[in-house]
């Protein structure tokens, strides 16, 4: 009996002691406050680390919070949207915010940020950016302009890139152009000597004299690349004096005229906008098209891994290359477009400070470089240029040359919608339903009827 009692007492004491120890050990954990931040991100194989870096940044932020003695710990929940492009994604997210189900942080194409700002969905960041120079102080000043709305900064640049006309040197040589001519094209384009119409002429020679079926291919859906052509013909789409959308009939018609001539010469296919993205890439990378109007990240995302284009710089430039958007006439200005993707924070997030710090860590040199080198996007900070991995990724260094002449899409809250109308105009021309003049009228009529404050000249 006594044995039993002693045994029971010993067991109870041991259990109590273990329980107390566990409780004491667990006390700091129990005192921790989990802060869940929801991140909205488009499922995008060309940039999986845009959201991945935010998830990684949470670890760094939590260590920092622990060191500060803060009880808060950040958890990032990624909410992926299946939208096909950033325009569809932004329209979807505007609705999500509209019904009060918005995330804390979101990733968007920069030209949409003022649409979120106009409806009061996005947090103004000027004070926070100034407060955390260690995170944001060295981001390229030019990139910040893509994150600004009329009254301040509403986003943090996540990356940049360069858009260009890729070309197949082998096909050009087969069409009868000598190697010196073919290799000099980038330089000629950059100096304004190569013109938009000369590109069509070269493409026509390729279609006529080689087995290649297509001259120039462009994206099949609404997006930024073809805006380069409009920029080349002088369309800036925003009146600098008022910030309102600006449509200039003659300049629009001139840009549409380029597409019209391309289709007439059988250089641009009439069904370009009906083709699938992957089918278009396949036509170009397998040698069935002379030019492909797209962006630098296509090399890392698709051309190297899927179509086996040479990853060695010298081998690549032996048969492939790219030019800026050429000038409309000899001596004119060439164009290139960069389309930064940005991080933004919801105006109604409960933890704005933590969200800003989280994005600060996500913008760290090493994490951003991971994204840059794996998907061939340009970095956001000058320190990245010194990173050996970045320096080794030659497409980045070479594409940076285009930043001298690059432009952004306008940060006007209605530009996304205007772009949809412009795309419909291109589709109308290519399918033979509209002439260039009619397409210009179509854009002006549609924009005037459906958008607000459009200035027409």
């Amino acid at each position: 009996m006594i044995h039993w009692k002693i045994g029971t007492a010993a067991l109870l004491s041991a259990a109590l002691a273990a329980g107390s120890a566990a409780f004491l050990a667990a006390t700091p954990l129990l005192a921790q406050e989990a802060v869940k931040l929801e991140l909205w991100s488009r499922q995008d194989p060309s940039g999986p680390l845009r959201s991945g870096n935010v998830v990684k940044a949470a670890e760094r932020l939590n260590k920092e919070l622990e060191a500060e003695g803060s009880p808060k710990r950040v958890e990032v929940a990624v909410r992926e949207s299946p939208a096909k492009g950033f325009d569809d994604d932004a329209l979807q997210l505007l609705k999500v915010f509209g019904i009060g189900e918005g995330p804390d942080i979101f990733i968007a194409a920069h030209e949409w940020i003022c649409a979120f700002q106009e409806d009061g969905f996005v947090l103004k960041l000027d004070d926070y950016i100034a407060k955390y120079p260690q995170h944001f102080g060295t981001i390229f000043p030019s990139l910040w302009s893509s994150a600004k709305c009329p009254d301040g900064t509403y986003a943090i640049p996540q990356d940049a890139e360069a858009r260009m006309f890729f070309y197949n040197k082998k096909l050009l040589r087969e069409a009868g152009y000598d190697a010196a001519f073919v290799d000099a094209m980038p330089e000629r384009a950059l100096s304004g000597d190569l013109t938009m119409d000369e590109v069509l002429e070269i493409a026509k020679q390729v279609v006529d004299k080689t087995k290649a079926q297509y001259g120039v291919l462009h994206r099949p859906n609404k997006g930024p690349d073809y805006i380069m052509v409009f920029n080349a013909y002088g369309n800036d789409f925003v009146d600098p004096a008022t910030g309102k959308l600006l449509l200039e009939r003659d300049k629009l018609a001139a840009a549409f005229g380029w597409f019209e001539r391309g289709v007439k010469e059988k250089v641009i296919p009439a069904n370009n906008t009906a083709m699938e993205f992957d089918a278009l890439r396949k036509e170009f990378y397998t040698g069935n098209a002379a030019f492909w109007m797209y962006g630098i990240w296509d090399l890392g995302s698709v051309a190297f891994p899927t179509y086996g284009l040479p990853q060695d710089e010298k081998a690549f430039f032996a048969d492939w290359g790219w030019i800026t958007g050429p000038a409309p006439q000899k001596g004119g200005a060439p164009v290139s477009l960069t389309h930064p993707i940005v991080y933004a924070i919801a105006a109604d997030t409960k933890e704005p400070e933590l969200a800003v710090r989280l994005l600060g860590h996500a913008s760290a040199v090493d994490l951003n470089t991971d994204h840059a080198v794996t998907t061939t996007h340009l970095g956001i900070k000058p320190e990245q240029l010194e990173e050996p991995r970045y320096a080794k990724a030659w497409p980045l260094a070479r594409a940076t040359e285009l930043l001298k002449i690059t432009k952004f899409l306008p940060n006007n809250s209605q530009f996304g919608e205007l772009n949809g109308i412009i795309f419909a105009g291109i589709q109308g021309i290519e399918s033979g339903r509209l002439s260039a003049e009619q397409a210009a009228d179509f854009v002006i009529e549609e924009a005037s009827a459906t958008l607000e404050d459009v200035t027409v000249k």
Binding site: F97, A115, D119, N271, Q427, G428, G432, R433, T450
Partner: protein
């Protein structure tokens, strides 16, 4: 012994019971249908009318009540006339060629041959209706692919020696949407007409044969008159169905090239969901509702549907 008053009381109670039973039956049998109609027709129409008088746009917010959307419909929307014209061609073309005429031909021919073969061919023509819409359109996209790999191009190039592949999605999009929808629509007419043909008393055909009638004469004087009401029903039903459905067009051509195959219902969708103009989409949709109701009423009157739906008269021998 019961008095007259008692009998009257019983009768009244009986009547009262009968009324209660009738009410219960009404709730049990018609209640679910009424609830569904109110939930899925009346309420959406009311919401649509309400939204059409607002400026509801891309972020689903309303800042004012306005008649601006109707001004747009009547004044500024220049696409609308083209869209309405196309819708007329699409609905009329699909109905006239496939849903009624081809459905009728299928019903007459498959009932004229042996039963097993007839059932087999009807089964084949039902396949498009039974396949999921996405799968059905994927097959179409492969068939009309503008490359040499497309089915149509393979046939034309290999069997008929065509030089370059055809791009039917760009050169004949309206024909394509009529044919792809018609292949599905024809099967419904086929089933209804087949049932009606089966319902024609056999002796009429024998009597006609004795009188010396040929196949065409039998069709002309016996089959077609018996199909008058099924034809009216299919015409009205399919007109309404074609007016509001656009999923096959959206999947096949996305309404393009340009606006070439954007029928009215798809135009409403494009305005509301592609451009985020929900208020304007609602105003446009209201006209679709009105047009639907008007077409139904005209059809009702024109085809004398009331007689079709009246109680059958039982013959007393």
């Amino acid at each position: 012994m019961t008095t007259i008053t008692d009998e009257l009381a019983i009768e009244r109670r009986g009547r009262a019971g009968s009324v209660a039973r009738r009410r219960t039956n009404f709730v049990i049998f018609l209640g679910p249908a009424i609830v569904l109609t109110v939930l899925f027709f009346v309420v959406p129409v009311i919401i649509d009318i309400a939204v059409s008088f607002t400026d509801l746009s891309r972020s689903l917010r309303i800042s004012e009540f306005t008649t601006e959307q109707y001004e747009k419909v009547f004044r500024t929307d220049r696409r609308l006339s083209q869209v309405i014209g196309l819708t007329f061609i699409y609905v009329f073309g699909t109905l006239a060629i496939f849903n009624v005429t081809f459905g009728l031909i299928l019903a007459i021919t498959t009932t004229a041959i042996r039963n097993v073969s007839g059932s087999f061919f009807r089964g084949v023509w039902l396949l498009p209706r039974m396949s999921p819409s996405v799968l059905y359109i994927l097959l179409w996209l492969w068939a009309v692919s503008p490359t040499e790999a497309g089915l149509v191009n393979q046939v034309l190039m290999q069997a008929f020696g065509l030089d370059a592949p055809l791009d039917l999605l760009t050169s004949a999009p309206i024909a394509l949407i009529i044919i792809s929808n018609g292949f599905i629509g024809a099967s419904m007419g086929m089933i209804i007409f087949t049932a009606a043909i089966r319902g024609i008393p056999e002796h009429l055909f024998h009597a006609a044969a004795v009188d010396g009638a040929g196949t065409l004469a039998k069709v002309r004087f016996i089959t077609l008159p018996a199909l008058r009401w099924p034809i009216s029903f299919v015409t009205i039903y399919q007109t309404l169905s074609l007016l509001v459905s656009f999923e096959y067009i959206l999947l096949l051509t996305k309404g393009g090239p340009f606006y070439d195959t954007t029928v009215y219902a798809l135009y409403v969708y494009r305005r509301a969901f592609e451009s985020g103009q929900y208020g304007y989409g609602a105003a446009l949709a209201l006209f679709l509702i009105v047009i639907g109701v008007v077409v139904a009423l005209i059809g009702w009157r024109f085809f004398d549907m009331e007689r079709l739906l009246q109680r059958p008269r039982i013959e007393v021998h």
